[in-house]
Amino acid sequence: MTTRYTKDHEYIRVEGDVGIVGISDYAQAQLGDVVFVELPDVGKTVSKGGEAAVVESVKAASEVYAPVSGEVIAVNDKLPDSPATVNEDPAGAGWFIKIKLANKAELDGLMSEAEYAEYLKSIA
């Protein structure tokens, strides 16, 4: 199992050819209190960098982009009723969608945990 990050602060935790996508702890802290999450339909095909979900705080709506291309095979049904889970446990119970990866090579362009930590320092 490996976790990769985008510059837009999404993570994807990969097991085999399935990736669990969410937003990083940094991202949830930047957003503040999440009040609404809009998830895609299961079966939808998303492309790397394209919109996969929407997360809304008191202040604003933000897109969550797909870190890789593939098919959405599951969504976190608990989020619409308890959006605050994104703030409380972004890396765990606050996940958004599961994607069946279309092309595992796309992961190579994403950051490792250590690289993402460096990236956060660089934008601080």
Binding site: E10, V35, F36, V55, E56, S57, V58, K59, P80
Partner: protein
């Protein structure tokens, strides 16, 4: 996640460093580097203000005085009445009124607070507080239209704090007991913990509270004195916006602008009877016609069903066609639901009228709602 736009060269209030020391996240707003939130977060700050007392730095707003050369209040009031539809002439010393600068078409150039000073020897002065984003144009507008007999004095030397919430007045009255009895929409001048202040019982949250005008060099000391009270926490612009939205109060540039009249904006209450009848302000013909016949569109509250917020720009549909647009929208922490305001054709403006919002291509059921979304708790 989409990233926010980057900041350019920004102005600062005298409390800029103080905000950072309080852990604020700073963002550009109306050309100023301002605190959008502190570590408590927007939701926590909103709820704190509704339950206790929130301290806001609103020093970016414009403060100025109109001073009649002849020492007669009526001279200054008559000059200002040529620019705004409120009854200024009949303000008593210390009394405050909300109004709007209007253009010749009756559109709103800015909204503002007008106060006749109550301080002995200054009862002929008018004190104005205008929006940060409009103040440069407002001052030009005033300078261009005031007669020579009335001097515009821009008060760049003054900062402005707001202390809002059910415990706000008790917190400040601990340092100035007379403030406990100050009535809503009146003001006084007095020392607060030894610091000279102009205090108005007013605000932008729907809660009881005050706004405090104080010299730039004294504002940090005053902020620290107020913050020492455990009932008081600093509140950023994020919560200021959700608080005023729940209170049904307009944000200039969003809910009102040069295309909207005060009647369309449901601000009829801010135009007193004498002015409605006599006119004599810019755009009076349009406003009197709208008063007589009703405006074609009206600002209303909108309650989306479910949890999804409808933001500014969301189109409003009914009877299978577009009937309006959302001008402010978000999540109301006190309402515990999404809340919005916007303009609809007047035929659809009645509370409980069902409408449909289209958010990101999806239809969202909603209804027209009476405002405020959180009850006003003013001290009358």
């Amino acid at each position: 996640m989409a990233s926010p736009e980057s900041a350019e060269t920004l102005l600062e209030t005298p409390l800029a460093a103080w905000h950072v020391a309080q852990g604020a996240k700073m963002v550009p707003f109306a050309g100023y580097n301002m605190p959008v939130q502190y570590p408590l977060g927007i939701m926590g700050e909103h709820n704190w203000t509704r339950e206790s007392a929130g301290l806001f730095d609103v020093s970016h707003m414009g403060q100025c005085f109109l001073i009649p050369e002849d020492g007669k209040y009526e001279t200054a009031a008559a000059a200002l009445e040529k620019l705004v539809p409120a009854d200024v002439l009949n303000l008593k010393p210390g009394q405050q009124r909300y109004s709007q600068f209007l253009n010749t078409e009756g559109g709103i150039l800015d909204d503002l607070m007008i106060t006749r000073l109550g301080f002995a020897g200054h009862e002929h002065w008018i004190y104005l507080v205008v929006n940060a984003g409009c103040k440069v144009e407002d001052y030009k507008h005033l300078a261009a239209h005031l007669p020579k007999s009335v001097t515009l004095k821009i008060a760049d030397n003054l900062a402005l704090l707001a202390l809002q919430g059910p415990k706000a007045v008790a917190a400040i009255a601990a340092h100035a007991p007379a403030l406990a009895d100050l009535k809503f929409m009146t003001s006084t001048d007095l020392p607060v913990a030894g610091i000279w202040c102009h205090v108005s019982r007013t605000g932008y949250t729907g809660e009881d509270g005050v706004e405090i005008s104080v010299k730039n060099e004294d504002v940090e000391a005053l902020a620290n004195i107020l913050l020492k009270d455990e009932r008081v926490k600093p509140i950023g612009l994020g919560a200021r916006d959700s608080l005023r939205l729940e209170a049904g109060l307009c944000l200039y540039g969003h809910d009102i602008d040069t295309t909207t009249s005060p009647i369309e904006a449901d601000l009829k209450w801010s135009i007193q009877k004498r002015r409605r009848e006599e006119g004599g302000f810019p755009g009076a013909a349009r406003i009197q016609a709208e008063l007589a016949n009703g405006p074609a569109r009206l600002r209303v509250g909108i309650q989306p069903e479910g949890r999804q917020p409808a933001r500014e720009g969301t189109e409003i549909f009914a009877d299978g066609r577009r009937i309006g647009i959302v001008t402010s929208g978000g999540f109301g922490p006190t309402a515990q639901s999404p809340v919005a305001m916007g303009y609809v054709e007047s035929a659809f403006a009645k509370p409980e009228t069902p409408v449909t919002l289209v958010v990101r291509g999806k239809e969202l059921p909603a209804r027209i709602a009476a405002m405020p979304f959180a009850p006003h708790r003013y001290f009358r």
